[in-house]
């Protein structure tokens, strides 16, 4: 017999529903490409994700942003059809190829109804293997990129992101520059450069192709075979020795003057850890309770208690090298210094005192609990498998990551916080009205205030 629960008490969860992970059929193709077929017959839809080892971190400084631009300019046409004809063919099949170039890899992704997969797979491979980069298309892609760079310089949030990257990472590290390059590097790029870049870097060896959805593996393989024939070689992935270096180890304030700003955009950060760090799972738990959820310390303090901001987030960016850890928010300009002080206090408090048992349990439950929510779609699954492959991890790592999160103890989270939160090394980037915020920031005494 069960006692009836009083209405004032939240209900207990019911029995956990079974989570059936989709079957993954993995083949190692002769080109050196790993192919994963994920059968997900729930709805008539399929997603394709092709991941190649051609990220921006592999570009030398003067060519910053060229990798990203090459990805964008793939839409400009192939040896067989113009950019316009390519767009008509893809969209006529109800699809479109999204090209996202990150630090570690380039991801080419599309969604399509399964019966149209035979129409779009050849187009995807045509883009990758035979891009034409006509002069006029490259010129326009360059102009558009320059326009975007200009736009970022006037958007306070994007401006703060770019300054934070430059101030956190060593100037020799690719991570110090904007992912899409600078006006100087982009202005120099020519069609021939992009041809050479793709020729060199868009190679199958070490790459991963995922097809997820209501499809049959043998049929997809039969479609792929002629499309991949003769494609070979691999990019030489060289990691810059300075990739993970910080710019400095002292706390300091960089104030980027934007007169008239009614808010200040804040980024407080330092170099974090690579994806391969043994602290990956424990730092995800630490971050969730610091600033990764609504109920996190930072959000409850800055938003729900003080009303300084619409929202605040923290994040470890896990890359092949040590990406940044940062806290980001936009606050009323009158409370700029107070908000910086609160963020530093929270980071210091967590580093020194560690998290509570309840906080760690809540974060663990959150991160493990959202797992089925984040893998509802064919795009989710294809994207996740592709992202894991970037770090040399197999599809089974999806579940292993969740289990690792479940295994994080309060001691492990405390240790991760103690070792990897470094308030004394934090760079504080403020994009705001210097006439209003400079004196209070100096009075805060975090470190020298440099106005840019």
């Amino acid at each position: 017999m069960t006692e009836k629960r009083p209405r004032s008490v939240p209900p207990e969860p019911g029995p956990v529903g079974p989570l059936r992970m989709p079957d993954v059929d993995t083949r190692h193709l002769p080109q050196g490409l790993t192919f994963h077929l994920v059968k997900m017959p729930r709805l008539p839809v399929a997603a394709v994700s092709l991941v190649l080892d051609a990220g921006e971190a592999g570009m030398p400084g003067p060519e910053a942003g060229w990798g990203l631009l090459a990805g964008t300019a793939l839409q400009g046409g192939t040896g067989q059809r113009s950019g316009d004809a390519l767009a008509r063919a893809l969209e006529g099949a109800g699809s479109g190829v999204g090209v996202a170039t990150g630090w570690d890899a380039v991801h080419l992704e599309l969604t399509v109804l399964p019966e149209r997969l035979p129409l779009v797979l050849p187009l995807l491979m045509e883009m990758v293997r035979e891009p034409a980069f006509p002069q006029d298309e490259v010129k326009r892609a360059r102009e558009r990129r320059l326009a975007t760079i200009r736009q970022r310089a006037m958007d306070p949030g994007a401006l703060a992101d770019d300054w934070a990257a430059a101030e956190i990472h060593h100037s020799d590290s690719p991570y110090a520059r904007p992912l899409g390059g600078t006006a100087e590097s982009i202005a120099k790029v020519e069609a021939a450069d992009l041809v050479g870049l793709v020729e060199r870097r868009y190679r199958p060896m070490g790459g991963t192709l995922v097809v997820a959805g209501d499809v049959e593996g043998d049929e997809v393989l039969a479609m792929l075979e002629p499309l991949l024939r003769g494609w070979e070689g691999g990019p030489l992935s060289v990691q810059a020795p300075s990739l993970s270096l910080p710019r400095s180890r002292e706390a300091r304030v960089v104030l980027v003057d934007r007169p008239g700003s009614v808010q200040s955009e804040l980024r407080l950060g330092h170099v974090g850890v690579p994806r391969a760090s043994p602290y990956h799972a424990s730092l995800r738990v630490v971050n969730a309770l610091l600033g990764g959820t609504f109920s996190s310390r930072l959000n409850l303090n800055l938003r729900e208690k003080n009303g300084f901001t619409y929202g605040v987030r923290s994040r470890f960016s896990f890359r092949r090298g040590a990406g940044p850890f940062w806290v980001g928010t936009a606050v009323d300009r009158e409370v700029t210094a107070a908000a910086v002080g609160e963020v530093l206090d929270e980071v210091r408090g967590l580093r020194d005192q560690g998290p509570t048992e309840l906080e760690v349990a809540s974060s663990r439950d959150y991160l493990a609990g959202v797992f089925p929510l984040q893998l509802q779609t064919v795009e989710d699954v294809a994207g996740r498998i592709g992202s894991l492959a970037v770090h040399g991890l197999p599809p089974s790592a999806m579940v292993e990551e969740r289990d690792a999160i479940r295994g994080v103890s309060v001691e492990a989270a405390g240790e991760a916080a103690r070792l990897h939160l470094k308030p004394e090394e934090m760079v504080v980037v403020v994009v705001g009205d210097a006439a209003v915020v400079r004196a209070p920031l100096e009075a805060l005494g975090v470190g020298p205030v440099e106005v840019r």
Binding site: R7, S8, P10, P11, P13, G14, V16, G17, P18, L19, R42, L43, V45, G83, D84, A87, R88, E91, G92, G94, G96, T111, L113, D136, E137, K139, R140, E143, R144, L146, A147, T148, R150, M154, D155, V262, Q263, F294, S295, L300, R303, E304, K305, G307, F308, T309, Y310, A330, V331, S362, D365, Y366, L367, G369, V370, P372, L373, Q376, T377, E379
Partner: protein, 423 residues
């Protein structure tokens, strides 16, 4: 074509409930639409629907401040709410064994919101919302575009003339009494639709819903929203030129179009795609690819139900493009779209097909669409007819829509020019 199960029940207190069962993943979504948005705000109280949405997270009879998010995050759920012209929605997706918790939380605030309301939480969220306004509007290049365009498209006193975020002055004036009366007027069971989609047991779920929501007393139908009679088109080209601290020249063009429930709306959706969605669209092809003067361009309708909707075209120039040239090329394409071809319509339908199926993979999207069609069109089952309506659109209908809506007699044009700097 996909057919979502649509199981509709009306409770005695007037709450409409829609269930849509799909056991294939262990997740479930709860979604509540309240038929109240910025259009229901009287003069001097702009932004109150949205401020109220924030207050709904500040606690209720059995849920202290902060606990709503805390409980759902601990359950591995995702949570949010949004306010729009015609409605406010609240939603959470949870692992399905936590479905009862999500229902209990939504019911607690529908029934017991007033019991936790304090001046302290109002002051806190007023400050949060004012920061939201600063972040999205006041500290952002082009941030005031929608306020400017709405004021061009709608006459003074019209419910769609002001922005959802509202004015700082009005937000400053909001009192506890305003919040109370907003709740009592609009947050009634009769004015809400509750949708649940995903892995659910029908009887058990209906049991929870009757238990938690069915016991909330009916409070009467809210007042009918005012729907002023407007001419179907603007009747002229209205223009506003702004010189501001913006990086690139940009043009916004707004048109007054029929409301979502109009039989011609599917043709308008197809028209928008043909014109400005995707790289094969006419505007992309001309402004971005062929002439290279634009960095981006898009066209889309904003579906509304209060007598009319709006259609929006936006184009950003690359550096140095004269905004007049953007307008000239854009206007040419508006005339040219009369010649729309069968294959363009087919492409738009193919894109819509993929978009719809892809979207329906997420239980959260399903629940939101069910609430939307029930609230705005009075029948959640319309979700299953939308694709057929789009597929039935002919080039002739697209041409007719273009003729009726895209002419010189129906344009509000807002242009931004980068301020010339003295250096």
């Amino acid at each position: 074509m996909i057919q979502l199960p649509v199981d509709r029940v009306e409770l005695d207190n007037g709450l409409t409930v829609i269930l849509s069962h799909d056991p294939s993943l262990p997740v479930a979504a709860v979604n509540l639409w309240y038929a109240v948005g910025s259009r229901n705000e009287p003069e001097g109280k702009t932004g109150y629907a949205h401020l109220f949405e924030h207050m709904m997270f500040q606690g209720s009879a059995n849920v202290p401040k902060g606990r709503h998010f805390e409980l759902l995050e601990r359950a591995g759920g995702s949570v949010n709410a949004t306010t729009w012209f015609d409605r406010t929605n609240y939603f959470e997706t949870v692992p399905s064994h936590h479905l009862e918790l999500a229902l209990w939380l939504e019911a607690d605030r529908m029934g017991g919101f007033l019991q936790a309301l304090t001046l302290e939480t109002l002051e806190n969220q007023r400050s949060v919302v004012k920061n939201e306004r600063k972040q999205r509007y006041d500290n952002q290049p082009y941030g005031d575009w929608d306020e400017r365009l709405q004021a061009l498209l709608f006459p003074p006193g019209h419910p769609y003339r002001h922005s959802v975020i509202g004015s700082m002055e009005d937000l400053d004036r909001a009192t506890l009494d305003d919040v109370r009366s907003f709740f009592l007027t609009w947050y009634t069971p009769e004015n809400a639709v509750l949708s649940v989609a995903g892995d659910l047991d029908r009887d058990r779920t209906m049991g929870w819903i009757r238990d938690y929501f069915g016991t909330i007393p009916a409070r009467g139908q809210p007042p009918e929203p005012r729907v002023p009679v407007l001419a179907s088109v603007l009747g002229e080209t209205i223009r506003q030129e702004v010189e501001a601290e913006v990086p690139l020249p940009r043009i916004y063009m707004g048109m007054r179009i029929p409301p979502l429930q109009d039989a011609g709306f599917p043709a308008i959706r197809i028209l928008a795609t043909v014109l400005g969605s995707g790289r094969s669209s006419r505007l992309y092809s001309k402004l971005v690819r062929e002439s290279g003067v634009a960095r981006d361009v898009m066209a889309f309708p904003y579906p509304l139900v209060g007598g009319c909707s709006t259609f929006l075209i936006q184009a950003t120039g690359v550096s140095g493009t004269a905004v007049g040239l953007l307008e000239e090329l854009l206007v040419d394409e508006l005339a040219g779209v009369r010649e729309v071809r069968e294959e363009e319509v087919q492409r738009a339908v193919a894109l819509a097909d993929t978009g719809l199926v892809s979207g329906l993979q997420e239980v959260g999207t399903r629940a939101d669409l069910l609430s939307m069609y029930q609230t705005l069109l009075g029948d959640a089952g319309e979700v299953n007819r939308e694709m057929a309506r789009l597929r039935a659109v002919t080039p002739g209908q697209v041409r007719d829509a273009a003729d009726a809506l895209l002419g010189e007699d129906n344009r509000a044009i807002l242009t931004y020019r980068p301020a010339s700097r003295v250096s």
